[in-house]
Symmetry: C2
Subunit: 244 residues, 2 copies
Amino acid sequence: MADTSSEFVFKPIGIVKSCFTELFGIPRQPGLAPTAEGKILICPPFANEQAFAGLEECSHVWLQFIFHANEAEWRPKVRPPRLGGNKSLGVFATRSPNRPNPIGLSVVAYRGWSKDNGNFYIHVAGLDLLDGTPILDIKPYVPYADALANAYNHIAAEPPACHPVVFSSVAQAVIDKWKTEKDAADLERLIREILQQDPRPKYQRIDTERIYGMSLYDLNVRWRYVPNEKADFFIEVVEIGNKV
Amino acid sequence: MADTSSEFVFKPIGIVKSCFTELFGIPRQPGLAPTAEGKILICPPFANEQAFAGLEECSHVWLQFIFHANEAEWRPKVRPPRLGGNKSLGVFATRSPNRPNPIGLSVVAYRGWSKDNGNFYIHVAGLDLLDGTPILDIKPYVPYADALANAYNHIAAEPPACHPVVFSSVAQAVIDKWKTEKDAADLERLIREILQQDPRPKYQRIDTERIYGMSLYDLNVRWRYVPNEKADFFIEVVEIGNKV
């Protein structure tokens, strides 16, 4: 029988190819940016349609993955950025990446598989994972078991509030150009979905003089916060350039 | 960056103490037997209320665990018992325990923590895990991200059908005695919840002459299948004895 000194060794079954090329800006949960598409490069010997046969009957899949970019040690208490950093919670009461076993859990929409140049890919949408994330397992979502109608979580009761997002004419021009490119379905929609949630940690005071930036694909998206009359703000995308 | 040859090593944060003392009879998904209560013996250094502070705000938790009792090698295709064993599916289209990385995922009701004799326990209900299962992580259920109202899974669209369960007078006498014992909240309800789903693999023909058995706590529950007029059957619990 396993005991507390047992060790379990896992290897990735795949690696995420994501539009999110840095941690900052990634939505706090999957599904918050439905346009965030990505794919999982499946490793041999799993890289064939046999192992995924039937998955087309499922709208969504669970990804069990490694929080590979988090180097912080786990601590018993964490201060989730979403709660303004002033509420301390037990690590197991949060979805914080800094966990004793850094295994994450995300449900994403399943969009089928493809083969390209000898590589086998699983396509997903509503992704909240960093490019390069190792995937340990893919499981079908089972609504009757997984979708609990009466569950509550008073710490994270609802998705983050949304703020209006506008684009400067300079940024809009880049988007319009991108729109003409193949595979660039809707960069504007994706940027809106990401920024409307305001990626800043909530304990940071807004600096209206500052230009914030995040990587998306090989782009650098830059924005600022513009106060409005309701003591709230909107977000203006000022510039979209190439990632340096 | 992680690649496909990376290895990740995990140690359990806890070990399950479950009413299910053998694999046969365990519900196919969590929540199907809400009375199935259990606890997780948390390992040091996680064994204190600090690491779980705030979890009382959550009705449910995800358990990420090891399928430790499955010794079969993974294969690209599996035949889920629930589908009668005659439909072959890709392993990643199922929740089969025989997976490349044997990490399971179950959502269970959270019932608080306790300390007893220097041990720290997390209490759960609706459990579908074998006694001794190593737990890798406990995460709060986040309804707005995890409970997908529009998800579908045509392979496992609904819970298993339920069959009537009756108790012989001999079995009922054991239950009535158990009911008078401390901590034995509702053995009868638990047995009903488990057996009404019919634990047999669906590809087995029903043998109405045979007595079936499963372990529950330190008991051995024995039942048979009684045909009824609708070409269906009911389940009679014939005997409840001590596990040998």
